[in-house]
Amino acid sequence: MASSEQNFNTRNRIIPEFLRDIRVLQILGQIIFLIIVVAFLAQLVSVAANEMRANNLTPNFTFLQNRAGFEISESPQWYTSNSSYADALRVGIINTLRIVSTGLVTATVLGILVGIFLLSTNWLIRTISRVYVEILRNTPLLVQLFVWYYIVMFSLPQPQQAVTLPSEGVLFISLRLVLYAVAYVFISRSLRHLPTDAPRRLMFLTGFFAASLVMETAFYLYHNQADWAGVYGRGDLGAAAFLLYAGISAVLIGGAYFVPAPFRPYALGAAAGQLIGGLLFYMGIMPNAALRMELYPAVYLSIRGIVFPEILPTARFAEWLAFVVLGIVAAAMMWVYFRRVTETTGRLIPRTQYAVLLMIVLAAVGWLIVGAEPLPTAVPISGDDGIIFVPLEEALARDLLSPAEQLQYTSQPLVFLRPAQNRLGRFIVGTQFSPEYMALLLGLVIYTSAFIAEIVRAGIQAVSYGQIEAARAVGLTQGQTLSQVVLPQALRVIIPPLGNQYLNLAKNSSLAIAIAFADIFTTMTTVMNQSGQSVTGIIIIMIFYLIMSLSISFVMNIVNGRFQLVTR
């Protein structure tokens, strides 16, 4: 005791009192820490600045105004090699944001889908998606990007042999098949109101299809034998076909009433199928009447990337837009009104369907009204001898109008231009996405989707099974259970890690440099190499990514706040 007291006293004497106050100590310690950190940073900065000065470089931001002098393959029209470095960076930022925004949405959708597959009761689907997730999670994104770019994209065909969707050709849709489908839908819907008895309904439909199949086979055999070239579709079917039809019909319809009760639905279904098929046949719509549609390619996939049709607003677009906006406003008002009606009276009104319908109707009506406005019969063309008026058709036929004027003299509010190639295979019309863009997007989306899938699976599994049972016990359907009970609870587990994956996707977009897609990082490295301003360049990149990361975190935090549970 005594010795410790003595110690205490000795210390007392050596250390002044204020230095024994824990608050003072803390503040002092922090000041020292701060000084060390600041000194270290200052040292770094001064050494770096000295080094750079020795290389005739001064870190500053004014170089951004200098001429860039390089082309960017993936840039808006306003960018040329004469633009400034700042413009080049702007292009890079636009490209990064394009990739990130598209990537976030697609990765989420794909990830949720795979996540649900991971929980499937189907063993095969579960296993396939498990393998998908494991392979993607355990190989580096960079390797995957190389695979997408150098292997998948490079093995696409040349533009002249591009894979197209749809492929050019003629599509026949057999009317008979359409009518069968209509009959099937009609019959099964009307059966739904019968007393709930699944087997009987099944028997009916089986009969229906069996009879149809027999009919079809019989006609097919007959047709092949008789070689009816040139006779199709004219109703000139001959006596044999009629006899065939009449025979089968009579047997089936007559027989249906004599079969024993348990099998009567079969027979009735068969008779119905027979009747419909036979009538179609006999009325001459058969056997080959079909809708003939010419299909032209809309999407081209080739080694140069993917090309979509171009959608261009014409001079009349603004007028049509007014109708669309009107439709949206009206639909929203109607939706709100119907919801109130439902809540007050309990009368169910399919308000969403009605609202969508109203929007479509108004847009269509607007299209017709706008399109009905007559075009000028003659258009002014400035030629060698001043402005002359040329009839519109002639001007179009002789290709006298510039693209902008063509859009002005079009009656439709929007024009859809199918992609078109010149002789070298370059696409002169169409919205193009480069193979670099596609490879990067595919790589990021598929890689991130594997992680999102795992998060979704874990989130859904975190909802206790009792919740699902309780939802079933109060009578909610499977869909309602998912949307009202499981998802709201799973989301609160899912959202925080999901936000992390979004951040990862945004940051990983910088791997664009590996396949030379002109995002901010790639552009900035080019700028840095040309101007030597590496310190400034790196600072700009870091600030950009920090802002992007912080914005994503901010949004995800807000979303997360809305899903937290209130507990005691």
Binding site: V47, N122, V170, F172, L295
Partner: protein, 682 residues
């Protein structure tokens, strides 16, 4: 209600409970199939679609891998994939390091887990197979012959015209038998020619293309006519097809044009060193094959002509002549396997692609020019290589390549494993039977990284190696391990700093962590590459790339590690710290002895996860010009002789990455499940 209260409802069931077996579809494999594959209509559809997708994907992959892919690119460059261009004289250090690592891992397995007899036998069987299979395959399935052409006419197809070579150089081993005969099987008609495969020379390849083209045109014309007769064409297609039809013309049969195998071929085999003829013969379709046994290792020349008709081409099937590869490099002086000094200088090597048989030095010369050799091209299989050729071409050499290394690693692992077991048996106290081995394992793990670094880099203790030559899996691993190990203290300090009550320390930690986590690794790497030389001039030379990458990886990893450790600290119940303080421990002591050890134990799975993700992320050093595993794949396929073999290289490195990550993930999962990682609850 009272009516129900009647004693008549009282009933007893005296029967003994009897068990019935469940209905067929509720247990057993049938029930499993019903519930797991065909539970509902939707399930059935998904099963069918999934089965189609999986079967086609797996079939496509294996067809390619077995019958199409050229795995020579892997076998030939295996050293690069593993250690890059690491100096050959220091190779033993990497080998020793691999053995040490495996021994320590084996020790760890022995200390914390057990290997079942099944796994052990499995490993032994694998090792045995690696040794036994190559000779068996070589003995049982000989390679398909090469096919070369003789004649004087140029074979034209499209813009290509190839004339058969008069002389063809090749390398062979002493005692190998060369058999030459006329390849009648390819000369019957164009279809036989078009279906030819195996190793062929360029003229024959052109012949094959011509024959295939002719067959295609022959089939195409009626096809177009049929399409034009129907009405399933758009006007555009109709115009194009009509133009095609006018343009198309069926050329005469290729076999007839070149009088294929109609005239006998004169063949002569010369010794490449002396240019003395060894054997010669006039080969026709009916004559006996010519067999020659090679007298020594080295170069030989095959002369071949069709003397009777300059227009004719004759195809020769040659067993024992296989495609080769030429490679030149500058070698520094070194000590050879027999102790002799190998001088520095430019070296040219010729390597036979079927078995890596290697000849150094110049080619034989005829009339002042090197004898051509490279016109036999491997892989004219076009996806139709028979399985036996796959086995003898790729599988046997691959096994031969890895079997010795595998055996050594296995031995090292077993030594480590039994070391741990025996240590426990003799030195551990009874109440804690694994205490000693686990203690030792802990220290081994701590000692391993510095030892590894000394072995690889030298570091003043061993002769230094050149960092820019580090590469492949070695560099990938080195970066990962350094990234985790060095960043560990930094990460722990940051985690503690972030939880500190001192605002400045806390603020600085948060700023660092969030700054690093907010930017991509590639920017940190770039910064290290560009800025570190400014700050630390001794890291500025061209030789220091890997060191700068290590700095970047460490700085980057520390921020993530700090977050993981913070998670572990937060998962501890607050009572732990309170109890420590109540016992009179200072804040530092409480952290160091109570909270931190528990927190670290709790985050072991997270740390393994970070290790995996860092392992994958090190591939980014490719972008800043280091030669890691990914970069080796990229470099290799950019060499002339391996152009177009990117798939093979990437499939290989993907498998390497996958195996390592997946194994680590499995270990992490086992630690998590066993609970030894979790903070122990009392």
């Amino acid at each position: 209600m009272t009516t129900i209260h009647n004693k008549q409802i009282n009933a007893v069931n005296y029967e003994e409970p009897q068990t019935k077996s469940p209905p067929l579809l509720s247990v057993g494999p049938l029930a499993w199939i019903k519930n797991n594959l065909f539970g509902s209509l939707m399930d059935t559809i998904l099963t069918v679609v999934g089965a189609i997708v999986i079967v086609s994907a797996v079939t496509a992959f294996f067809t390619w891998a077995l019958a199409g892919a050229n795995w020579f690119v892997i076998i030939f460059n295996m050293r690069q994939f593993l250690i890059g261009r690491f100096e050959p004289w220091a190779e033993w250090r990497v080998q020793l390091l691999a053995l040490l690592v495996i021994a320590v891992l084996g020790w760890a397995v022995g200390a914390w887990s057990r290997i079942s007899r099944g796994v052990f036998i499995f490993l032994l069987v694998i090792t045995a197979l690696l040794f036994v299979l190559p000779p068996v395959i070589r003995a049982v399935v000989p390679l398909s012959p090469s096919f070369v052409s003789a004649g004087e006419t140029a074979i034209a197809y499209g813009s290509v015209a190839q004339q058969p070579l008069a002389q063809l150089g090749f390398i062979g081993r002493e005692g190998e038998v060369i058999t030459l005969r006329v390849a009648r099987e390819y000369s019957q008609n164009d279809r036989a020619l078009a279906n030819s495969f195996s190793f062929v020379d360029s003229p024959l390849n052109t012949l094959r293309n011509a024959a295939e083209n002719r067959l295609t045109i022959e089939a195409r014309i009626p096809e177009i006519e049929r399409l034009l007769a129907g009405d399933a064409l758009t006007p555009n297609q109709r115009a194009l097809l009509t133009a095609d039809l006018e343009r198309l013309e069926v050329p005469p049969p290729v076999t007839e044009t070149y009088h294929l195998n109609e005239f006998p071929a004169q063949v002569r085999l010369l010794d490449g060193a002396t240019m003395e003829p060894i054997s010669e013969a006039l080969l026709s379709g009916e004559s006996e094959p010519l067999s020659v046994t090679l007298p020594r290792d080295g170069w030989y020349v095959l002369e071949k002509t069709v003397p009777d008709n300059p227009e004719a081409v004759t195809l020769i099937a040659a067993e024992g002549i296989y495609p080769m590869l030429e490679r030149s490099f500058t070698r520094s002086a070194s000590i050879g396997p027999d102790g002799e000094t190998i001088a520095a200088g430019r070296v040219t090597q010729y390597i036979r692609m079927t078995d890596i048989f290697l000849v150094e030095g110049g080619r034989p010369r005829i009339e002042g020019t090197d004898v051509p050799f490279e016109n036999i091209v491997e892989n004219q299989y076009r996806g139709a290589r028979p399985l036996h050729d796959y086995l003898s071409l790729y599988l046997a050499p691959f096994f031969q390549q890895i079997n010795t290394g595998f055996l050594w690693l296995l031995i090292a692992g077993i030594i480590g494993y039994w070391g741990a077991r025996l240590t426990d048996k003799y030195f551990s106290p009874v109440e804690k039977p694994r205490l000693r081995s686990q203690r030792i394992a802990f220290w081994l793990f701590i000692a391993l990284p510095p030892v590894a670094f000394i072995l690889v880099a030298g570091f003043g203790i061993l002769p230094p190696t050149s960092p820019p030559l580090w590469g492949g899996l070695l560099l990938t691993m080195l970066l990962t391990v350094v990234g985790i190990v060095v960043s560990f203290p930094l990460g722990v300090a940051l985690a503690l700093g972030r939880r500190s009550s001192l605002p400045v320390v806390k603020g600085a930690s948060i700023a660092y962590i969030e700054l690093v986590r907010g930017v991509p690794l590639i920017t940190v790497l770039l910064m290290a590459m560009v800025l570190v030389p400014f700050v630390a001039p001794w890291l500025g030379g061209p030789d220091t790339g890997p060191y700068r990458a290590m700095v970047a990886v460490t700085l980057f990893s520390a921020a993530y590690l700090a977050e993981n450790v913070r998670g572990g600290l937060q998962s501890l119940p607050p009572g732990q710290e309170e109890a420590a303080k109540a016992l009179g421990l200072s804040a530092w002591q409480a952290t160091l002895f109570i909270t931190l050890p528990q927190a670290l134990r709790a985050v072991i799975p997270a740390l393994v996860g970070q290790f995996i993700s860092l392992f994958k992320d090190t591939s980014l050093v490719t972008i800043v010009g280091l030669m890691d595993l990914t970069d080796v794949a990229q470099t290799v396929v950019n060499q002339n002789e391996f152009l177009g073999l990117r798939r093979e290289a990437f499939v290989f490195i993907s498998i390497v990455y996958f195996v390592f990550s997946y194994v680590m993930a499995m270990v992490s999962r086992r630690i998590e499940e066993s609970g030894s990682g979790a903070a122990r609850r009392i």
